[in-house]
Amino acid sequence: MSRRARLVFFAVAAAALAATLGAGLAGLPSFGRQVSAYARMLNEVAGPQRHVTDVVSAITFDYRGVDTLFEEFILLAAVAGISVLLRPLSDEIRELPEDKAPDRAIPPPSPAVWLLAVLLSSLLALIGLETVTHGVLTPGGGFQAGVILASGIYVIYLGTNYRTVERYQPDALLEASDGIGAAGYVVIGLLGLLAGDAFLTNVVGLGTTGNLIAGGTIALLNLTVGLEVAGGFVILASEFLDQTAVIRARRR
């Protein structure tokens, strides 16, 4: 199909879509007027029922915890899929840049960049841990914290080189953290069944509202999700990094 024909085809389809979308959006309640009764109720009861102050966390990990279970497995499946897609193929080899010129040493990174990387990565680790542990109190939680923790590793790469970053991300540990994080969610869900209640029931002691230890399973699920997301995103980044840094076509 020529580009022109494709554009005409798109214009017709887009006009129909825009009309349907417009009709659908016009049927929504007007912007900013009111929120659903469900949300008003959850905002009221989440604090007293679950001893949390961040209602979003309570919904994600408790009231709609099964959704998040599947979401977590989508992430796990995607990371596994990317690892399979980006593996070294039969006509490729893994070769570090220094393997080509063994007599030339890699120049060390400039001290300023190195210092920045050290400061930034430790700061990111700290903020990541803060975000995951305060998930029940303030905005944040496992998903956000996992990404923050994983970006600490990227900063190490920016400040040093491939060899160093590989030392800080042993594959076995990362895969274990990804898998244990995902499995941990199911195990915590099973606690509810063991207590003679439904799957993912919040059966752990709820603690005191406003304290670091509060929310029962919500805080625990935040931790396991943080573990999974951090592991998953570091694996993800290292797979893409391998593609540019070490995977080369096999020479004949």
């Binding site: 959006l25 016009a26 007007s30 900013g32 659903s36 209602v55 979401e71 995607a78 897609l85």
Partner: protein
């Protein structure tokens, strides 16, 4: 106000699709998919918004904080962001392999899409 708010959603979605249709580079196309996908984030947050509402985090609030916005929609937007990120990552992995096999990122130059 409603027209502007929901208009942004429709515009984001359609401009993303336009980008996908006219794209000449697969990486650009993946970015366009995530632009179209971000329309759902905006829509979810808008449905949950309440004029003058505060975040659904009930800590250190003033004496009369007023209503809170919809926490359910924010939780759904969180799910959407995570799924969007994984979709983008998977598509980019496919793009890497397409580039290796075909030696090009132009979708029109790929053999399967040429007549």
């Amino acid at each position: 106000m409603s027209v502007l708010a929901y208009g942004v959603v429709a515009w984001l979605f359609l401009i993303g699709l336009y980008g996908v249709v006219t794209s000449r580079n697969l990486v650009h196309m993946v970015v366009c998919v995530s632009v179209a996908q971000s329309a759902t984030d905006v829509l979810l947050l808008e449905i949950g918004y309440r004029t003058g509402g505060h975040a659904p985090v009930f800590v250190s609030l003033p004496a009369h904080p007023g209503p809170a916005v919809d926490a359910v929609m924010q939780a759904l937007a969180l799910t959407d962001v995570v799924v969007g990120a994984t979709v983008t990552a998977l598509l980019l992995a496919l793009v890497v392999q397409v580039h290796k096999r075909a030696g090009t990122l132009d979708p029109d130059a790929l053999r399967a899409t040429r007549e």
